[in-house]
Amino acid sequence: MVASVMDQLCACPHCDALHRRPPLRRGEKALCVRCGSTLARRHRLAPDQVLALVVAAVMVFAIANAFPIVDLRIQGLHGGTTLFGAVAALWSDGRQPMAVLVCATTQAFPLLDLASMLALLLAVSRRRRPGWFGPLLRAVQELRPWGMVEVFMLGVVVSLVKLSGMAHILPGMALWAFALLTVLMAAILSFHPHQLWDEPDHD
């Protein structure tokens, strides 16, 4: 194990300034004295509360992907699509790279993020750090920027406005699910998994 003096130090990830590791209560964050970036933060919610949010988000994610986002009527014709339907349409039109990009950023990465957070938070709540804990935590940090549920949600709104001029639009179940998922994801993603290293010994 490392010397304990190392454990009392931390370095700013944005300017490398060395600080004494600040003791933080929930909801607090420490700013770097040199560059002003966030040096360390501790989320307002305890890991168990975040775990509850993750479980809820997984269920909402399932609903958001199982049902049509919107129903569309143009001159008696009826249409609608799920998110996966849009991905499949891109694929069959010969736009495979774009299908992969959309599927990865709106489905695969967010789902992997949620599943990994579930495993990590469960491990922490049992006060265990199994062998996969470190690699999985690093993987979550790497893929997190590529999950773009909130951007997709804005895309849905823009598309609806765009189509509202030419078609009759009925919001589908998945539209509300995506809106809720955006809120849940925002709360979950504001919990930086990296603070799990300091749980629960913090208390």
Partner: protein, 208 residues
């Protein structure tokens, strides 16, 4: 702490980029004692990777804007929309708010992001005397806003999924959409490769 901050590297230390653990400095990658990740004092080949990704993004930015992102075939005609075409459409169809939104995330943000990242990389490369705190702030801004440029890609994907009325109207994605998506991904990767600590490493320390 009121004393002048010392960087970890100059104190003979380095911090794990994954979990923050501080350890003795080594020049090669060393495994982190806490999380097992590879740790180096600075991101490897940060500047050359940033430049390579940034220049590729800049080159691809031309086709992303010139090629159509969407093709609408209806009974009477086929129309192709570029990104700027979409902005103009919203402006004229009574949604100036959306026109401004799309313009911001699809044109303003990518251009500013590439420009800022270029300036930051040049600052490190040539030791430009820019205010370092502001440089870090700019870095946080581009880190935060970059992803929103993916908006148009999602809009096109949804339109393609929704408007598939054979014989009446069918929307297909154009080559500009994937080019644009790749530009956004490349700029995100370029930002990720850039190590903001380099801004503080250069010899111009006079102003602190």
């Amino acid at each position: 702490m009121t004393d002048v901050p010392v960087s970890a590297v100059s104190a003979g230390l380095m911090a794990c980029g994954h979990c923050g653990q501080v350890m003795a400095r080594q020049d090669g990658p060393a495994p982190c004692p806490r999380c097992g990740g590879g740790v180096r004092p600075r991101k490897p080949a940060s500047l050359s990777r940033t430049w390579a990704l940034l220049l590729t993004a800049i080159i691809l930015y031309a086709p992303a804007n010139l090629l159509p992102i969407m093709q609408t075939s209806s009974l009477f005609a086929t129309s192709r929309d570029t990104i700027i075409g979409g902005v103009v459409y919203f402006w004229h169809s009574g949604s100036p708010g959306l026109a401004i939104l799309i313009f911001s995330v699809s044109i303003l943000v990518p251009v500013l992001k590439m420009a800022i990242l270029g300036i930051l990389a040049l600052t490190v490369q040539f030791g430009w005397p820019l205010d370092r705190r502001q440089c870090v702030m700019l870095f946080h801004v581009i880190e935060f806003v970059g992803r929103w440029s993916m908006l148009d890609v999602f809009v096109v994907a949804l339109m393609v999924g929704l408007v598939r009325f054979k014989g009446l109207a069918v929307i297909e994605a154009g080559p500009g959409a994937i080019a644009f998506g790749v530009v956004v991904a490349l700029t995100m990767l370029a930002t990720h490769s850039f190590d903001p600590r380099l801004i503080w490493d250069s010899p111009r320390r006079a102003l602190g």
